[in-house]
Symmetry: D2
Subunit: 361 residues, 4 copies
């Protein structure tokens, strides 16, 4: 349902064009510094950038409805709410009859019937991901208390790929550019690729690479709640995600064991691996090396071009053209979402594993 | 922990060299035909094949300890147990001191301490996947009652790839060959690739492609319990999995929206899509088209070649050579595991969504 | 944590003196009629009555933040929020140092530390029970679709007991009087008992009896999620509850089997029991007879009389007198809470058991 | 379903006359001493005593199928299995047609249909409670590491009541007598009451009182997972339980606040309460005082006397006489069950609250 997590439980609610979107985050220890400003800062990273983003101008102002008193968590659930403001629902009625390709319109109407709130995509809107960013900001704060840091960046946009395996410092610099690339030169190429798609009335996909560094050894809960499995499940909750891989990922399938196995070595008194094809996880447990994941995003489903669909009332073929406001590429905005989503999963597993205490901090 | 699923809950237990491995499957409606023979048939598909598989000769004889009476489920939890027989634990003691690269030895010992049962890999052994096959056989049986069928095959082994997108009938034929390929010509090439790796004292990775056909529209539970997310989480519980993708997957990241969006059409009075880049899921819900996933497996971690590691007692670099018995490639045996694991997830979601009733059948 | 339920999941948040209290109710099928007016009507039944209730004058105006569109559920989580208005936190600071007997002050401060929001009792305030009433109103609406009705009444206040086993019609009449008694004559006696306690600067306890009628046979999920167990767990979440019993309850412990066993008979073609000592449940499953439970409430912990306590800073004995505003007896207001809480549990179990479908209604 | 607990998860399986009954206990930290002997010792306390117990002569020999190696937990799930041996199913067929009053036969057959395994009561048999004792033995062992001890005794049998509020030492002595009374003189009276019921072809109910001492302050998880609520839910899973109360319990409903509130005092530098009407819990959290609960058991449903029932095939009134083997009073055997069940709940909450670490012990 709309809840994820075991020790740190997140419940999201709301729809794109209802009163707002919000979430309840349960399990934060008491005494953690959490403020609206801190959350807002992360939310702003998800805002559309003029030119490459949607013109929908949501202020995305978060309000803390519970769980924080005098800037610190009280040990009760933290509720965040973002009111919807710039709502234009008029254009969505037709999609109840002629579902948009690539969107959830058709399966959602079969599942929920007439009562489905399709306006703005309803619960299937990318707008819901603001909540992963907002709640993720609190999780990030919690992880900071044990020295865990998370950073992601745009690795590819369409055919433009940044081949270098950037480290944390590189990535943190990506916060400075519109497409959230780690390499400024690539950023410009990616930006052009997005604009090109937009000009064609089209959209383009891409990938996000994410690093989690500073993890203790042994985070993850076998047999099923592996660090990779929990991360992957969360990633697939982000609309438009089509694939997730760790370390060498699909490339590992083409390797020999002697190439892929990461040899151990002692470095400054600590056990590390020489390479990190495992991407920081073995047996579903963190190894102490950076957790490395790549997430594939499909091109935005809403495009300006005319598309083929069906008329569900008359049960015949039909065409439609989508007039709404959309991002020609979700990837730059998705970077903050992948970061927030990762923080939520890792914080949950760290709490579950006892790596973060339950005592007041 | 060791439990997965909401309406169909699976708990696995046991270790590679303990008394045995087993599972409890809870949530099967009463009156479903389930027998030891039926489960055994699936388990036999996971057995190592002479030449390309490990020489460990487990009989893998399943015993039903509860939940079935006169060949039908009673509505109480179904417990399956497979006793371990061909156990040789002598060779594992050294890995407590010198952990094997690519295995869970090191993080598991940090997490569980001295009490960790490392023999045969303990709970991190591939042997645990027999339980996904066994429990999956019951889930498959349940899915059959609503016409859902699942089939997987070996799509690549190392550099040998079967480029054709096989359909269900093709795949079912794969049960006839050792490597579980869908194309007999490719099967032979893959077999040779595996033997080549073995001769070199090495191992090789590969990918499994899986199809779920006959799904009703709307299977999956937003926001977090998407059909892709639930499948992915389960797949990462299978040791050696490094990546999961649906439909166009990572390829979608290189596409334009106009290419990737699957147009709707009416076919024999039913809404279908012309293409299936989505891989059968939109908004986390099944679309009615086949669910298509690809799973990447790394090469087997145990190889005959000498490897670099560390001595955890003396905290210095060390080398080790693994003498045990292993599969040079896990992919052929993993096909049955992916099928069983998929059946468990899909049956759970179908029960949750009310697509399968709770009444006696 | 702050979440309960399996198929119908309720998460509550907020504190007595924070921005407000609220809840997320997840699992209501799409298309169910739910309005703010409908919820408000139930909430008003929990309001304090002049004379026998607290003078804290909360308007308790509920706002629907999500999940309802045009007066019908959309199939996404329903969020309700009640802003706190009449807040006077000034008197609570001293209780951090000198905890109030009978309140959660002391254990909560040990558990949550300085960050605990003790104002108004924080999360331990009776104010949280408004959420059980509000969410319960939606659950009641859902249960109505399958003909299940719930009603409770004040059975005893201090020494004043209503010995008659009232049926549903009797009870529904109780909505008309201040103390929520089922017998108007007893109502007056109870009212006097409450006023007597108040005049003495004291408080008084009592019991609530609740009936659930129209239940299908077989509601409840063995082995642990029995209908009695789920009801009891929920009841103990209501502050001040000290005991829960079903049917003959503690009286059954003094009976012989030949007295206690309820014989079966056929009545108008239906299997019923002659008596209902079981209180409508056998083996954790509903029998089709009315589910009957009794809930014991302790006297309100806040009393005007001086009480003995300790000074936690100086670690010495101390005395305190509570000046705030309180109910001399919570029982009349608790009747609506027991009804709402029961509706939530029964609706959850009915959804779990497939007695209510998931299809749009 | 058949699973309970959050950090310490118990899944029970099996039926009275199937291959056996068993359970999986998940969440025990690695390195805890657990042996078959230790479990057996507790199981033996639940065995029927000649004269006052059933003549069914089950050996109840527990086998550890997983999770323990060399007498210590490994950190993986602990599976226990007890094979059924002395099974006589012949007498149960008639109850499919003429359900036994006071048993789950009728609702279970409506719920599960023909496939319901009614032999020996199936999953509704008191035999399942052996698993609470067995798993409870491991939980008790875990609680011992933080100094928490649990003891229960028979407080009443029919009209014979032991009015004294016994403390832990008194109770531990109860292990020495057949009826598990805390007072030897009462034990003899209770024994006679049981024999009297048996001679009349009848049965008799009673109550168990249970103490948990040594609890840290703050055990329990608001809002719903209160220490009382979690305990109560577990207790109602024990067949025949009709009521649960804490501290003053139902008696509190007749009290004034000034009587019921437990004043705080400092004793040997520790905050304690002068009285313990709260029964060791406030706001759902442990106070540090002994947790005190009372559990009401109905008289055994199976009695020798002829009873009135119905014929479900011909849908007419009928009579039946039960010939099987039964306990005339379940209370003496239930004492060990209440202890084990309590240990499971308390251990789960202690793990959840961080009162017991996850590190190897």
């Amino acid at each position: 349902m709309n809840t994820i997590g075991t020790a740190l439980k997140l419940t999201v609610f709301g729809t794109s064009h209802g009163p707002g979107v919000g979430c309840v985050l349960n399990g934060l220890p008491p005494g953690l510094r959490v403020t609206e400003e801190m959350i807002q800062e992360e939310l702003d990273l998800r805002k559309p950038v003029p030119g490459i983003g949607t013109p929908r101008a949501e202020e995305d102002r978060v309000e803390l409805l519970s769980g924080v008193h005098d800037g610190r968590t009280t040990g009760t659930p933290v509720t965040m709410f973002i009111r919807n403001k710039d709502v234009d629902s008029s254009k969505y009625d037709i999609f109840r009859r002629i579902p948009r390709p690539g969107h959830a319109d058709y399966p959602a109407m079969v599942k929920y019937g007439d009562a489905h709130d399709l306006r703005g995509g309803g619960q299937f809107s990318g707008r819901m991901t603001a909540l992963l960013v907002a709640a993720g900001a609190a999780a990030t704060q919690l992880l900071g208390t044990i020295g865990v840091r998370i950073a992601a960046y745009t690795q590819t946009v369409g055919g433009i790929a940044d081949e270098k395996d950037h480290d944390l410092d590189d990535i943190l610099r990506s916060r400075g550019n519109d497409v959230r690339a780690a390499d400024p030169a690539k950023a410009e190429e990616m930006r052009k690729e997005i604009l090109r798609a937009r000009e064609e009335g089209d959209s383009v996909g891409g990938t996000v690479r994410c690093l989690v560094v500073g993890l203790p050894v042994g985070v993850g809960e076998p047999f099923f709640d592996t660090i990779e499995g929990e991360m992957a499940k969360m990633m697939f909750a982000i609309p438009a995600v089509k694939g997730v891989e760790f370390g060498a990922g699909f490339g590992a399938a083409r390797m020999r064991g002697s190439q892929h196995n990461d040899p151990y070595m002692i470095k400054e008194g600590v056990v590390v691996t020489v390479t990190n094809n495992a991407g920081g996880a073995l047996g579903g447990l963190s190894t102490g090396m950076p957790l490395v994941l790549r997430v594939a995003f499909k091109p935005t489903a809403s495009i300006g071009k005319e598309q083929r669909s069906v008329d569900l009332v008359e049960m015949r073929d039909a065409h439609l053209r989508i007039e709404g406001r959309h991002d020609p590429c979700v990837v730059p905005r998705a970077v903050a979402v992948v970061e927030g989503a990762s923080a939520l999963v890792i914080a949950d597993l760290c709490l579950r594993g006892g790596f973060i205490g339950k005592e007041p901090r």
